[in-house]
Each structure stands twice: as C-alpha cells, then as structure tokens.
Amino acid sequence: MTDDVRVRPCPDGPVLVRGAHALVDDDGRRHEITRPVVAVCACGKSSRAPWCDGTHKARPRRADG
C-alpha cells in the first residue's frame, strides 16, 4: 500500500477515494476515514454528507449517462 490518495468519480454516482486518512469538508470540518475506500457524495443530496448514502439513485440520470 502506498501513501498516494487515489480518486475516481463514478458516472452518476459518488467519488471513490482510496488511501486517505481524513476528509476536510467545505466548512472546514474534519471527517476521519476508517475504511479502505470511501464514497464521497457528488450529487449534494446525501443526508450523510460528505459520504454517499445512495440518494443519487432517486435522481434522474443524465441523458447522455
């Protein structure tokens, strides 16, 4: 395992982040990361921001998605 943080956006879904120890959100709050991969909300609708809670699935997909 390297110390590199790897980030991968999923189409119409969250951003997968591997190798990070914590995430600091827009308000400056620090969120500890304890699992090997986390899914960060990209749709802005999650009730558990900054983490994805699956709410994006309730939204219509992009026409080109």
Binding site: G13, V37, D53, G54
Partner: protein, 329 residues
C-alpha cells in the same frame, strides 16, 4: 450448533446421510414436485449440506462435507434449484442490452427494479414485532454475511480479485473485530431481544429466506457459477444502502435500542462504496477477461433481485394477514 430438526422427507434423508443412518442406494428417493424455492424441506436439506463447508455441526463428522452420498443428494436439489432460478429470471435476463458497460448495466438493473417496498414499510409502519420478524428471517444469511463470497476469491484473477478482496476486508471489520459485519448483526439481534446465535432460527425461517442464503452458496461453491456469484453479490450490495437507511430509521422510530441500528447505519455508507466497487471493478473486470460469462453475471444479479422481491412480498403479506386476523378476533 446441532443438526436442525428435519421438516420433511428430503431434509430427513439429508440428516440420515449426515449421521450415516442410511445410504442413498437403500433409501427411498423422496418425490419432489413443484417449486424448490418455496419448499422448506428441500431448502433446509440444502442449507444443512452447505453448512458443512461453513461452521459445521457438533453432531456431524466433518468428513461428511465430502461424503459422496451427501453430495449426491445436494447435487439433485441444486440442479432443480438452478433450473427454477433460470426459469423465473428469464424475463429479466432477456431484456439486457449487450453494448452497455457491465457496471452501468448492473446498477441500472437494480435502479429499475420496483421492489415490494419492504424497507419503506419498515421505516414508516412496521410494529416492533414485525421488525423482529424481519430481522429473524434475515438472520440466516446475515450471520454468515460475506462468507459465501470468500469462496469466490480463489476463482478470480487480477483486478476482479483485488476489488473483491477490498470489499471483503471491509465486510470483515477492516482489522477491527468489533466491526465484523456478522458480529454487528448478532448485536442487532441481541439488542431487540432475539437469539444472536448462528443458526438459531434455521428451523423457523421461511423457504424463501433459506433459498436467499442458499443461492449464494450454490453460486460460490461451483466454479461454473462464479460469474453468477459475482453478479448476485453486486446486485445484493447495490440494493442495500437505501434500504439500510430506511431500516435504521424504522428502528429509531420504534425506539429500539440504539445498538440495533448500528449494523444498518454502517451499511448505508459501506454499501454505497461496495455497490460501485462490486459492479464496476469486480464484475466489470471479470467480464472484461471472460466475455462469454457476461450473461452469467446478469443471471446472478437477476436472482438476487428476484429473491429479494419474493422475500419482501412474503413478509408484507404475512404481516397483512396477521393484521386482518387481529381485526377479526
């Protein structure tokens, strides 16, 4: 754990074979018509046979795992089970396009699935007893959560193997015993006053609940069906995060102990990750290397959705008829 009490001729024969009380050459073969998915007797026999590959039974010699008589009866049930699964999912697997990337295809299958709204009911309307009933029915698969999929690991290579191992590490607690998902489920059972012991409810749960657990072993223990095992896993994970959020809210509404909700809280975030990794990295990589197995992956996913819907419908109907009886009395 001891052998469960049989509930018909097939599970009776399986138990007899397990303890060496009979051989199949001398035993009368039980007649088995109709649905295997709905037949508690055959599902219990299958569950018992599979269990030898997991924790085993204190009153069965471990060598029975590879006993040809046991395996013979198991194979007969498996053949009928698989035939029925292929038949009931044909509509869904036939609709799948060949040109969509597989990860998107799997997530679309789950997103487009109109389930029986079990989790919506658990969130808003279920009584405490109905919630307990749900947790009890699910205990058969959840107390060995992720164990069937561990049998898939050695059947994979490269990127698919790495991705599945990453999910399994998380499922197995990411290095923390208290976060082992199976144990978290046991704590949920205990918190709501149910028996947390492995296999405690195997004699009580429905045929469909047993089938939902057995299908994972069927796919994981047969190399031929590994694609179906991966597809099932991806659909299972992808249909978990939103329902988990609703169930956690239902437990909170019912003011059940906070420990009860921890398992479902954990699965909101965990399965938001797992569904992406399972669909895109596990199944996507696997099919990139094994193009001819794409349809198997879709088949497995369709089985997960089918059984989940069957189980949801069964529970909602059971509770509905319970309410009608209460009103009548």
């Amino acid at each position: 754990m001891l052998l469960p009490t049989p509930c018909g001729p097939v599970s009776g024969q399986m138990n007899d074979l397990m303890v060496g009380r009979t051989t199949r050459s001398t035993a009368t073969r039980p007649t088995t018509d109709g649905s295997v998915i709905e037949d508690r007797d055959q599902q219990l026999a299958l569950w018992t046979a599979y269990e030898l590959s997991y924790r085993g039974f204190a009153d069965v010699h471990p060598d029975r795992e590879w006993d040809l008589e046991v395996l013979g009866l198991r194979a007969e049930i498996e053949a009928r089970f698989e035939r029925e699964l292929r038949s009931v999912t044909r509509d869904r697997t036939g609709r799948v396009a060949d040109d969509t990337p597989l990860g998107d295809e799997l997530l679309d299958m789950v997103a487009g699935d109109e389930g029986p709204r079990l989790s919506a009911y658990l969130r808003r309307d279920a009584t405490a007893e109905e919630m307990r009933d749900f947790l009890r029915e699910r205990s058969i698969q959840q107390l060995k959560e992720s164990d069937p999929q561990s049998f898939l690991l050695p059947r994979l290579e490269g990127a698919a193997k790495v991705a599945l191992a990453e999910i399994q590490y998380d499922e197995y607690g990411a290095g923390r015993v208290q976060n082992l998902h199976q144990t978290m489920y046991a704590r949920t059972l205990e918190a709501v006053g149910l028996d947390p012991q492995y296999g405690a409810y195997v004699e009580e749960v429905s045929a469909v609940s047993l089938a939902s657990a057995n299908v994972m072993s069927l796919f994981a223990l047969h190399h031929r069906l590994r694609g179906a095992g991966l597809g099932h896993f991806a659909a299972f994970e992808a249909s978990s995060s939103v329902p988990s959020r609703r169930i956690a809210a239902g437990l909170q509404r019912l003011e059940m102990a906070p420990e009860a909700g921890a398992y479902f809280d954990e699965h909101v975030e965990a399965d938001s990750v797992h569904e992406q990794v399972a669909a895109r990295d596990v199944c996507g990589s696997f099919v990139a290397d094994h193009l001819s197995l794409r349809q198997d992956v879709i088949f497995g996913a369709a089985c997960a959705l089918y059984l989940d819907a069957r189980s949801g419908t069964e529970l909602l109907e059971r509770w509905e008829s319970g309410r009608l009886q209460d009103q009548a009395s």
